[in-house]
């Protein structure tokens, strides 16, 4: 089943106002940057975005925030974004903050047909308010429900034409679990290879979870915290 779309515009067809989108990435690492720019061009509004972070002011999801396209963010950590903080504190932006592990597991559950699961994360905090609790093995847990999206937009390293995806290093992060949870999942990739070119024993996201694939035109891959060591000193372990 050939899932390849000829460009980002074709790949994102059908995304409209008021939809719920999942977007992969951790910080600026492994985000679908070409798709995000296209969402700015499309000008779709009132989006609910499920993404671990919210980008920075002028890159990643920050671009959609600047453009007031996002009604609600569902994330675990949204620091490093002044516009975000401003919109949130002023009440323009709804924000649902979720423990990172619960966010990842809720996406996976959404893709796996598991409507809810128990986790100890957040018990005794405001996260637990209004949620069922149950004690297992002497320890209290809260019931978290699954998350799904109208469209999941993920960033992978390579795809084959069948939609099988592989990710590179820590650019994997939330992408595989979000790929599972989209009614329609769109994969932005650096390279598309023929079916059979990827080793079937080493596929991160099997093609059954992916409906569309496109090759990104430009990858800036911005680094948020450039930390290095000097070759001469070489003091750091």
């Amino acid at each position: 089943m050939n899932k390849v779309k000829k460009n980002v515009a074709e790949a994102l067809e059908g995304i409209g106002d008021n939809m719920t989108l999942m977007l992969g990435g951790f910080g600026l690492c492994g985000i679908p940057e070409n798709a995000i720019k296209q969402l700015v061009l499309l000008g779709v509004r009132n989006l609910t975005c499920i993404s671990n972070n919210a980008g920075v002011d002028d890159y990643g999801l920050g671009l959609l925030l600047q453009n007031r396209q996002i009604k609600k963010m569902i994330s675990s950590y949204v620091g490093e974004n002044d516009e975000f903080e401003r919109q949130m504190l002023s009440g323009e932006l709804e924000v649902d903050l979720i423990p990172q592990g619960s966010l990842a597991e809720r996406c996976r559950a959404g893709g796996a047909g598991i409507p809810a699961f128990y986790t100890p994360a957040g018990y005794g905090t405001e996260i637990a308010e209004g949620k069922e609790t149950k004690v297992f093995d002497g320890k209290p847990h809260i019931l978290e429900t699954c998350l799904t999206a109208d469209y999941s937009i993920v960033k992978a390293w390579k795809a084959d034409t069948e939609g099988n995806l592989v990710y590179k290093a820590t650019a994997m992060n939330f992408n595989p679990v979000m790929a599972m949870a989209g009614k329609i999942t769109i994969a932005e990739v650096e390279e598309i290879v023929p079916a059979g070119a990827l080793d079937p024993s080493f596929i991160h996201t099997p093609g059954i979870f992916v409906q569309r694939v496109f090759q990104g035109a430009v990858f800036e891959k911005r680094i948020e915290q450039r930390t290095t060591r000097n070759r001469e000193e070489n003091g750091i372990r």
């Binding site: 910080g27 100890p120 994360a121 905090t125 405001e126 650019a171 680094i223 060591r229 372990r237």
Partner: protein, 218 residues
């Protein structure tokens, strides 16, 4: 004299045990990796999806696809593994990580911790902290004894929204090493040259002070 951040990191590094997988939070905890005692076999897990985190890359060798949970460019050691976020928190929630070191805004004498929100002022989010503190059997908090306003961060009860309840077992500050037991802080060690009086004065919560409080040894 009170420790600096590096001192805190060095003291925490003494707590490491061979064979442990360790998760280090952002800030002072990250520095702990630099002071692992020689010959000790520990592996660092970062919750964005790496096990076997190595040092920062050499200048010019940064890879945008290879970062830690603090979003810093890093390297991977031989024998490292990358994985998705669900698997990463399976490791954490499933107690496969033996030690978690993280920062805090407040810790209470019953082991509650607050580190993600100041209502009306700052809401960066909890990131992975709530999962980490809810699951880890062994949590060390690395923080300054007082906040910028000079108020104690070791409290009877936390005033800020909680990250987790009754989970902190040990705290290392610039002044002292403390454990939490029976709903109290217990003073275990003091920084070189720091008086018990100063620690008492800067600890708002109930503090148990034994007759002899040894200085930290580096």
């Amino acid at each position: 004299m009170a420790l600096d951040k590096i001192g805190i990191a060095k003291r925490i590094a003494q707590e490491l045990q061979s064979g442990w997988y360790v998760n280090l939070g952002i800030g002072i905890p990250t520095l702990v990796a630099n002071y692992v005692p020689h010959g000790l076999d520990v592996e660092f897990q970062s919750e964005n999806g790496i096990l076997g985190m190595g040092p920062f890359p050499f200048d010019g060798e940064e890879d945008a696809d290879l970062i830690n949970a603090g979003k810093q460019t890093i390297t991977a050691k031989p024998g490292a593994a990358f994985f998705d976020s669900a698997t990463s928190f399976a490791m954490i929630r499933g107690k496969h990580v033996q030690l978690t070191v993280l920062g805090a805004m407040e810790v209470s004498q019953s082991g509650d911790i607050a580190n993600w929100k100041i209502p009306g002022k700052m809401v960066k989010g909890m990131g992975g902290a709530m999962d980490l503190v809810a699951s880890a059997e062994n949590i060390i908090v690395a923080m300054m004894h007082s906040n910028k306003a000079g108020e104690s961060k070791l409290l009877k009860t936390c005033t800020l929204p909680l990250t987790g309840v009754g989970c902190v077992k040990k705290i290392v500050t610039e002044l002292a090493v403390l454990k939490i037991e029976e709903g109290k802080f217990w003073l275990m060690e003091r920084a070189p040259g720091v008086s018990v009086e100063e620690i008492k004065q800067k600890t708002e919560g109930e503090l148990v002070v034994p007759d002899f409080v040894p200085e930290m040894v580096f």
